[in-house]
């Protein structure tokens, strides 16, 4: 099967994300990349745990003074939902329904954006209310690095999905771009996976002390 070929419902394969050799390679390579990312985030988590509440003087805020449950809960719900919406998008991709796929991807992007917005609000809040900054303590550095790395992944994921949507808006699905959509959605889920650990390890465990 050539990647450029125009497809129909009938010719569209069951697993468009790995129908060509290039697609198979991309699929596998991307998973391996995620394996590496796991170590990357684990290192960041490990550092965060080692440096949690490590501040130079007693007047610095600690994790238990910092985090607020409602905001984190909202962010979590948004991100989890966006995971579902991107699954919907892939469902439509497999059914060769380009319009619906774009629609659900669009919703995913909106959810992602609102997550990012909340995160920016959150950081801003910490900086101005608590003087908890990247440079104020080792705790600050570790916190912003871990959560910020995740945030940067969200931002990158959004750019990626948006550019895919725009680039292919006129062209519809093909075996050339299906793997791209698929890997982008894998990436998006992976961001969600990381967030599950962030809200558990950073926020919830931070609140219990």
């Amino acid at each position: 099967m050539h990647a450029e070929e125009k497809m129909t419902h009938e010719t569209w394969p069951a697993s468009p994300e790995k129908a060509t050799l290039e697609a198979k390679n991309k699929f596998l390579g991307f998973w391996f990349f995620l394996g590496g990312e796991t170590v990357l985030f684990a290192s960041l988590f490990a550092t965060y745990l080692a440096l949690k509440d490590k501040v130079p003087t007693a007047d610095h805020v600690l994790a238990k003074d910092l985090f607020e449950m409602p905001l984190v809960f909202l962010m979590t719900m948004i991100l989890l939902t966006s995971s579902l919406t991107s699954v919907y998008a892939m469902y439509h991709m497999k059914n060769f329904n380009f319009k619906k796929m774009q629609l659900w991807l669009g919703i995913t992007v909106l959810l992602g954006l609102s997550f990012l917005g909340l995160e920016i609000y959150e950081f801003n809040h910490y900086v101005h209310e608590f003087h908890h900054t990247f440079s104020s303590s080792a705790f600050g550095s570790a916190f912003y690095t871990l959560v910020g790395f995740h945030g940067a992944h969200v931002a990158f994921g959004l750019c990626w999905i948006v550019s895919l949507m725009i680039r292919n808006a006129k062209r519809g699905l093909s075996l050339y771009n299906a793997p791209k959509f698929y890997t982008a959605s894998l990436y998006w889920h992976y961001i969600d996976v990381v967030w599950v650990f962030i809200f558990t390890v950073v926020y919830l465990m931070g609140m219990v002390g």
Binding site: L21, F32, G35, L40, S43, K54, V55, S135, S141
Partner: protein
Amino acid sequence: MSTNAQKKGFGAVLWDYLTTVDHKKIAILYLIAGGIFFILGGLEAMIIRIQLAIPDNNFVSAGFYNEVLTMHGTTMIFLAAMPLLFAFMNAVVPLQIGARDVAFPFLNSLGFWLFFFGGVFLNLSWFLGGAPDAGWTSYASLSLASEGHGIDFYSLGLQISGFGTLIAGINFLVTIINMRAPGMTYMRMPLFTWTTFVASALILFAFPALTVGIFFLTFDRLFGSNFFDPTMGGNTVIWEHLFWIFGHPEVYILILPAFGIFSDIISTFSRKRLFGYSSMVFATVLIGFLGFMVWAHHMFTTGLGPIANAIFAVATMAIAVPTGIKIFNWLFTMWGGSIKFTTPMLYAVAFVPSFVMGGVTGVMLAAAPADYQYHDSYFVVAHFHYVIIGGVVLSLLAATHFYWPKMFGTMLNEFLGKITFWLFLIGFHLTFFIQHFLGLMGMPRRIFTFLPNQGLEIGNLVSSIGAFFMAVATIILLINIVITSVKNVKVGNDPWGDGRTLEWAIASPPPYYNFKQLPLVRGLDPYWIEKMEGKKEMTPAEPLGDIHMPNGSFIPFMISLGLFIAAFGAMYRLDYGWGLPVLIIGLVITFGSMFVRSIKDDHGYHIHKEELMDDDDNKGVKA
């Protein structure tokens, strides 16, 4: 796009190499760049040995010595040994598994250029205010205290080239999983392919830890974070852990491919299949696995406590078992074989006892309480040069001779090759054997000079003399290369006559599309099998058809260049106003190029059947 056009002229060749995505050309790029860095690192080693030849020497100053020492270690590990291994992996592995190309030709080229620009960036430090001077391990308290921009060159340079390595690793993993020719099952893969596979997996899991560590270091120095600053709650031991979580697997990333190269050479020139093939594979995987659980043996004296030290000591010792399996399997591959002492085989043969000597001192180091004495002494220097030079460098020299005909279509001179071998080997043992004793006699490592009357004079002198032998050997190798290239006598598919694996079933150098028809693999050592049945070439596994080829691209160069520029901006941001704009411009170039890549369709092109039929096997790309 004309596929067979043989371009001429220097500019055209240069452009060809700047944009190439062909694994064989990328291999040559790695070989050249890695070779240059090896000579650079070697020159730095010579400076070290000259300075230490006599006590109280002042050939170089203390500060400069630390720069030389740091750059020697960093260059050799990151910019010489690893890229040179990548050179041979690129040149050989796709052929060994009967693939058209690697899985991601574009990323392959990106990986190279990232490494290259990272390396160039690191070395520019010599001209821009001083090189890094905190050792290749760059322990945090010292690397934060170090003045000037040396350490910034280290952190940014390694970050860039580290991305390149990571990409190369993923590429090999996918290539080996997805691109094998029909019949090439996992348990029929040559050992070099297997070790490449495992080493790539180690890269995938080890480099992220380095990425994170270096990120912290960069940000502590340039962007005001406090990861390693104890007065702000930070902790320098974090750096030590992250560095060694990467660093220990790194040494296996170096040695495993070397093991693979030797496995292939030994079985080739013994004319015997590898003894205990499946246990060799198993041992490789086990070494890779255990390699992640032992990092703290570099930190026995950090004060981790007896429990941690005891656990890591025992875990470390365990690695001797799979390595021993390999050693004995090599010996028994030769046992009952028909050994021909070609230059590559000489290296392989010399490797076995040399590496065992280095390996067993490793196990001695693993005995934690004894390591309190060895640590940071010349005993450790002796250990790791024994394993690295006795293992990795010998394998690189062996592979240079072994695969030269496959990469360039012409044989290196055997006589000169043997001279290189003997000089290098004698020099190597002369230099490093005595260092064990220097260490035991109380000589710490990383000292720019030593005082007289402490019993260290003779040992150091002997060691320095040995280094000159290695330098002469290297120079003879270079002469050999020049002579050979000038003569340029072409050779056939299987110039050694004893080739066993698929790469010897194809022209030297192979045509740019590799196998015209994918070969059918019928067992371990497929080419040997066919030869034993009296055939000259492989049975094809498919009818002749169009071949899909990737387009060349200049984008990898641009992505890497952008990061290179951005690194300058990041570094000088605090000193000069132009820093920040340059940082941004660099990032724009990088991300812009990535964006172009992702929106511009690149479907490659096809070589048509007819063209292939005209193309006789000898007409490959000119190297």
